[in-house]
Symmetry: C2
Amino acid sequence: MEFSSKYLSNAVDEMAQLPGIGKRTALRMVLHLLKQPVEQTKQLTAALDRFREEIIFCEECHNLSDQKICEICSNPKRDNAQLCVVEDIRDVMAIENTGQYQGKYHVLNGIISPIDGIGPQDLTIASLQEKIAKGEIKEVIFALSATMEGDTTIFYIHKQLAAYEVKMSTIARGVPVGDELEYTDEVTLGRSIQKRVPYEDSIR
Amino acid sequence: MEFSSKYLSNAVDEMAQLPGIGKRTALRMVLHLLKQPVEQTKQLTAALDRFREEIIFCEECHNLSDQKICEICSNPKRDNAQLCVVEDIRDVMAIENTGQYQGKYHVLNGIISPIDGIGPQDLTIASLQEKIAKGEIKEVIFALSATMEGDTTIFYIHKQLAAYEVKMSTIARGVPVGDELEYTDEVTLGRSIQKRVPYEDSIR
């Protein structure tokens, strides 16, 4: 794509580096900014700059936070005995949205994935181990993706924590609520038959 | 969506104002920036700020430009007798990419669209008329979208310019090169039969 302006071409090139944004989409977004008041662009760039410079990771759970200790970790109403291990901050948001969990979180900031060159040392596993060593946590709940990488990560952490007296569980896997059996994939359906639960438990 | 950080939530909200970007995509882009060096964010925001503040419209053709007169208008090799009327800067780029046009452009910066509240006075039609009045231009080529709005805009401008001695033409409409007849819509196919061209012309 040839641009009539250096400023335009720079702006498009920079936007096109964002994930999922091609040159065409970048151009559309940049031209949109041109139709809006200058203030909108200033607010956007200021928000991005401030975000990138000011945001920190919570020292306890490694979630994104404005303070050293995030709102969840500093909330005295949350249960200190439960720790939910997740891949990244989006999973914290997803679980928080369910309103079904009152414990705390531990954000791994990734998942073991040899193909992407991500090993255990790239995750916050050491800090997780330290936390468990203190003995306050009674249960670790693995809420990782139901993928090979997720399973590998759970397996690895499970081994690391085996020496401690802590209950470890994973979130339930099975047919999603509202889904029709006919369209559920074989592996999920097969596993959900194997791991069937007593009816009394299922309606509680 | 609930965010653990004010900075994050601001950045996501601002990004989500861009066209075609929802909150989820905005979050993905913002978290991507967090994984990159701070410099990348700075370059992005600087490029956007500079673009929004420095870019100007060419005084002649209303294309985006770094100088008062854009590169195409100031190019002595371009044909001053031909003027191609387009909706916006993207169309200039598209036509330039074909390498088939050596004349100059006139960017309307929009298209007449009552439903979006865009009337003739919002476009650069007055400036187009002034240009034609000078008498140097021999042909005006309408290269607008093949839509109701495009047709309306051509009709309106055609009436405005009727008093001047200038040839007016529109780009050819028909079955796209490479397309199969079977999948061409009825209207296009119907028109392309009505407006058939002598075979000798079609292979020139």
